[in-house]
């Protein structure tokens, strides 16, 4: 490189393109600096600082929107796609912070580092969403992972929480190691770690030798192990129920939603851009993984009586539905993934925040039996919970329905390249959502049909939690009734990626239909 000096204008543009990460880190640091100066009684103020940080970060996304493009020698790509994921992730974090303030208070865990870690984790996920280079992605992954390991074990005196943190840490480290090893192989095979350049290199090699270099494919396999772990795709889902159950509930709310969104974003970039030429090969890997993920998640959830664990399994199942859309390998599929993530984050965070409140002190009230008759005791809260559950189940007029709808639609649209296999996949997904109906509905049965539980004494829902729940509920309904706007944003976001349809799957129909939606 000749021009090592960067112009001032470019420097500023770089900063603008990572504005959300800057804001999140800055507020994380502010929280940590302020922490020692605040008396234990007033620590909850730190939560509000963190919440303000999330809001400012959300506002700063606008700065990024205005100066889209590559940042820092193409390490980061600030495009529509990355911006969509940023919004999703930051909203999840903001809602989780709101849910944490009172939770930490009654668990006597109110500490500054908690909020700082949430903000840092979110910044890491932001980097993950925008990474255009594999080592940068790795750094993002590590920032978010390490913060989450600590957050998982935040209830230090509780065994399950420690177990969760340990399990997550050990398995997570393995997974990131696999990811790193995969990067090394891809680099070895192509000589680059830039996501878009990998593709060019692979195409050049394929033009030369006529087939995909084995080393690169092996690298892709290892990368899938690492990222599959983060999105809880089978067979790498084993840790999820224990970790999600053991972690403090607001942390679970964050863990089950935001990292999934950020990691799927990275997967889209790696699979759709770098390894587009191999899409015929990885399609089957995703297919098998999607089927396994859905069945393991749903069948696992069927037998749970602990609602938190049930929701943990359900988030495995939802990773499966997202993989169905992911398998499509078209721009439409990407848009479906994005829409699904937006809906998923709202309903999942909402459901876990309800649990945060219902769990009460020490998270003792998490079994189905505790919620018997809740519909009579706390009608508003029960109605909210029912809405999130029905959305997770995929009932029309909720965001979850359109998530599934677009996912199935996206998958079916790719029949040209994948034939009957995608139809089978969609049918399997459909059957799975009926299995899912059973356990979501069971919670509603308990809340409304069972005689009221005498042991459970309802507590007042605090203002912060109420606000978070109202936002999540309105969002879920908005996406379920007038999804058009978010849908077209998702399509534009998908369009901003340099996904080239390989000649076999160029489909004029998709283009025209994309135009329909964009109108």
């Amino acid at each position: 490189m000749s021009g090592m000096t960067i112009s001032m204008a470019e420097q500023i543009a770089n900063l603008q393109r990572v504005a959300p990460e800057l804001v999140l880190s800055l507020f994380g640091i502010i929280v940590m600096i302020a922490d020692p100066f605040i008396k234990p009684a007033g620590k909850r103020a730190l939560g509000w600082i963190a919440f303000a940080g999330a809001l400012v970060a959300l506002a700063s996304v606008d700065v990024a929107i205005r100066s889209q493009g590559f940042a820092y020698s193409r390490l980061i790509s600030t495009d529509g796609f990355s911006i969509f994921i940023h919004v999703v992730v930051i909203v999840a974090a903001a809602l989780a912070i709101l849910g944490s303030i009172d939770y930490l208070e009654h668990e006597e865990l109110q500490r500054g580092e908690y909020y700082a870690l949430v903000l840092f984790a979110t910044a890491g996920m932001g980097i993950l969403a925008g990474a255009n280079e594999l080592i940068t992605a790795f750094i993002g992954l590590e920032i978010s992972s390490i913060s989450s390991y600590i957050l998982c074990g935040f209830r230090r005196k509780v065994r399950e929480s420690n177990e969760a943190a340990m399990k997550y840490f050990l398995l997570g480290s393995f997974a990131t190691a696999f990811f790193l090893y995969g990067i090394a192989m891809v680099y070895g095979s192509t000589g680059t770690t830039h996501i878009d350049s990998v593709r060019t290199a692979l195409e050049r090699q394929m033009a030369g030798s006529g087939h995909m270099p084995a080393l690169a494919l092996l690298g892709l396999g290892l990368i899938f192990v690492g990222l599959g772990f983060k999105v809880v795709a089978a067979p790498f889902q084993v840790y999820a129920p224990d970790v999600y159950q053991g972690a403090p509930t607001p942390v679970t709310a964050l863990l089950a939603s935001a990292p999934k969104a950020a990691t799927f974003a990275l997967m889209v970039r790696i699979f759709y851009i770098s390894f587009q030429p191999a899409s015929g090969m990885w399609f089957w890997v995703i297919w098998v993984s999607a089927v396994l993920t859905m069945f393991i998640g749903n069948l696992g959830a069927l037998v749970q009586t602990n609602v938190k664990r049930m929701l943990a399994y359900s988030s495995i199942a939802h990773a499966g539905y997202i993989l169905v859309a992911f398998a499509a390998a078209t721009e439409f599929g990407v848009a479906a993934v994005l829409f699904y993530l937006a809906a998923y984050v709202l309903m999942k965070v909402g459901a876990f925040l309800v649990l945060t409140h219902l769990g009460q002190r020490g998270e003792k009230r998490l079994s189905l039996q505790d919620y018997a008759g809740l519909g009579m005791k706390q009608p508003a809260l029960a109605a909210c919970f029912s809405l999130f559950l029905l959305s997770l189940l995929g009932l029309p007029a909720t965001g979850g329905f359109f998530g599934k709808f677009f996912a199935f639609q996206g998958a079916l649209d790719s029949t040209r390249s994948h034939g009957g296999a995608v139809i089978a996949l969609v049918v399997i997904a459909a059957i799975n959502s009926v299995i899912g109906a059973y356990y979501y509905v069971r919670v509603i049965v308990a809340m409304y049909f069972w005689p009221e539980s005498q042991e459970y004494v309802p507590t007042r829902v605090s203002g912060a939690v109420t606000f978070a729940l109202v936002v999540a509920a309105i969002g879920t309904l908005y996406l379920g009734i007038i999804p058009g706007r978010v849908r077209s944003l998702a399509i534009n976001a998908a369009h901003s990626l340099p996904i080239q349809q390989s000649s076999s799957s160029t489909n004029a129909l998709l283009r025209t239909r994309g135009a329909f939606y964009r109108n």
């Binding site: 029905l390 009932l395 329905f401 029949t415 049918v427 009926v434 059973y438 049965v445 058009g484 129909l509």
Partner: protein
């Protein structure tokens, strides 16, 4: 076009939902006003829906009162309309809902507000199903009917209500989710969710390849057959009816089961005529088994409500048979029988519910000789039972008769077998009536039972008058149906007559809309931003 009344369908569809808002502002222990407002809302809704009759052009087979707006992007539309097939089903819904509300006046004590909210929401959803002309919109309404019904069964039902509620929702959801896949697949093939556009496309330019047609037909048909329910998918129905509160049973039997038969008429037949023809013999056999089996099982029931539930399996077998006879008379008979079944079975459930309110049991052996203490209620019960067993000149006779002669024209043996069901229905209903009403009063408690109250008399007399009117003045109902059913059969025949896969290029396997030749008007409509 009907420009002056162009918002009428939206009003009819959403008025009940709108009145839910009025209920929500009431205090939940103000039972009196909750009941009054719910009743007033549903009666008002019925009155508004009658305006449909006034503006309906009975000579026009097309969809009337059309409304068409973009909803999501430009591929999913808010597209409403009624034709001769759906018109009276909408009226049936708006007619039965006030009666269902009235019959719950005293029998629902707990969570009164929630109950009436559920009933009104379900009314909106059911009307929505009947008037949607966009597959997607249809599916949304279709699914929304489930949740309020699920709560009605699960919260206000009898002892095993939770089991019944869960069974109900899992059964129907299984069917409908495969229909969703079917809808998406159809969209993939045609590039639109709009029913008239798809119909046009399939009949004017290119029929579906036969395997795809069969699979899609299957995906839709399964959902409808579960809802109807067609033998052997009927097993959810008796359990659910037995446990549901009276109003729930009335709505379920009166209207919700018709969603299935309506779906067959509206989607299965015009969209996949080849597949429908191919599978018609199997479906007819299932329908006939349902007719006979339902009747036989009803005969041996010792639970009065379960008995009535099984009569539904039998009667709806007739409807399905009439639909798949592909004959104008049988089809009109089937639609008429859908209305009759709604009225008669609704009335039977109401009468059974009135007995339950008095004795809190459905066991036939707990009754006996009831005609002595309550002559009025029992004679109305008999009248309703006679309508259900198709005694001329009551309404049931017209429907069954038309179905049978229509079916006989093409398939002698089908009609012959089905007729046995008509005979059996006389046996089980009259025998049940005999055990419940005639003879000495067998149980001491029954001697002092009060006869029908004014409210109960009003409900049953209204239904009895309707039954008589529908029996005597059937042309009033049949004439608006004729153009639509004829057009439907014509359209099916046109599609079948064309040499399949020969002169016309079949739909390309995966590419869709752009390669299908669309009439210019439709292209313009599709591309509308």
């Amino acid at each position: 076009m009907h420009t002056p009344a162009s918002y009428l369908l939206t009003v009819v569809t959403f008025l009940p939902l709108f009145s839910v808002a009025a209920l929500l502002v009431l205090r939940s222990d103000d039972h009196v006003w909750i009941r009054r407002i719910a009743l007033a809302a549903s009666v008002g809704e019925f009155a508004v829906s009658l305006l449909l009759l006034r503006g309906f052009d009975i000579t026009d087979p097309a969809y009337q009162f059309p409304e068409y707006y973009n909803w999501i992007g430009s591929s999913i539309h808010y597209h409403l309309g009624v034709d001769g097939i759906s018109l009276f089903l909408v009226l049936l819904t708006t007619f039965l809902t006030p009666l269902a509300i009235l019959c719950s006046w005293k029998s629902i004590h707990e969570h009164v507000k929630g109950f009436f909210v559920c009933l009104l929401v379900i009314e909106t959803a059911m009307i929505g199903v009947f008037v949607s002309l966009d597959l997607f919109l249809f599916f949304v309404f279709w699914e929304i009917t489930l949740i309020p019904m699920y709560f009605i069964i699960g919260m206000w039902g009898h002892e095993r209500r939770i089991y019944a509620a869960v069974k109900f929702i899992l059964y129907t959801m299984f069917g409908s989710i495969l229909m969703l896949v079917g809808i998406l697949w159809l969209y993939h093939l045609t590039g639109t969710f709009d029913l008239p556009v798809i119909e046009n496309m399939l009949s004017n330019s290119a029929p579906l390849p036969s395997t795809e047609g069969l699979l899609l037909f299957g995906a839709f048909f399964l959902a409808f057959a579960i809802k109807v329910p067609l033998f052997p998918l009927h097993t959810w129905l008796p359990d659910v009816h037995t446990e549901a509160p009276t109003a729930g049973s009335v709505i379920l039997a009166g209207v919700m089961l018709k969603l299935g038969t309506y779906g067959m008429l509206r989607f299965c037949l015009p969209l996949f005529p080849a597949a429908a023809h191919k599978l018609a013999p199997f479906i007819a056999v299932m329908a006939i088994i349902g007719i006979v089996y339902g009747a036989l099982v009803a005969t041996v029931q010792h639970d009065l409500k379960r008995l009535v539930a099984y009569t539904s399996v039998s009667h709806l077998g007739f409807v399905v048979l009439g639909i798949f006879a592909f004959n104008a008379i049988a089809m009109q008979g089937a639609i008429y029988q859908m209305l009759n079944h709604g009225i008669s079975t609704g009335a039977l459930f109401l009468a059974v519910g009135m007995l339950y309110d008095r004795r809190h049991t459905h066991e036939i052996s707990e009754f006996g000789g009831l005609a002595t203490p309550m002559p009025v209620l029992m004679s109305l019960f008999l009248f309703v039972a006679l309508s259900s067993l198709a005694l001329p000149p009551l309404n049931g006779f017209i429907g069954e008769f038309l179905i049978l002669i229509g079916t006989f024209a093409g398939h002698h043996s089908w009609a012959a077998w089905a007729t046995s069901g008509a005979v059996l229905s006389a046996i089980y209903l009259l025998w049940a009536y005999q055990r419940v009403a005639l003879g000495e009063v067998t149980v001491e408690k029954n001697k002092t039972l009060p006869d029908a109250s004014l409210r109960e008399k009003f409900i049953l007399v209204t239904l009895a008058v309707t039954i008589l009117f529908m029996g005597l003045a059937s042309p009033y109902f049949m004439r608006p149906m004729e153009p639509s059913t004829n057009a439907l059969l014509q359209q099916m025949n046109d599609q079948l007559q064309r040499p399949q896969n020969a002169s016309l290029p079949p739909l390309p396997r995966t590419a869709g809309a752009p390669s299908v030749v669309l009439p210019a008007a439709m292209v313009e409509r599709q591309a509308r931003p």
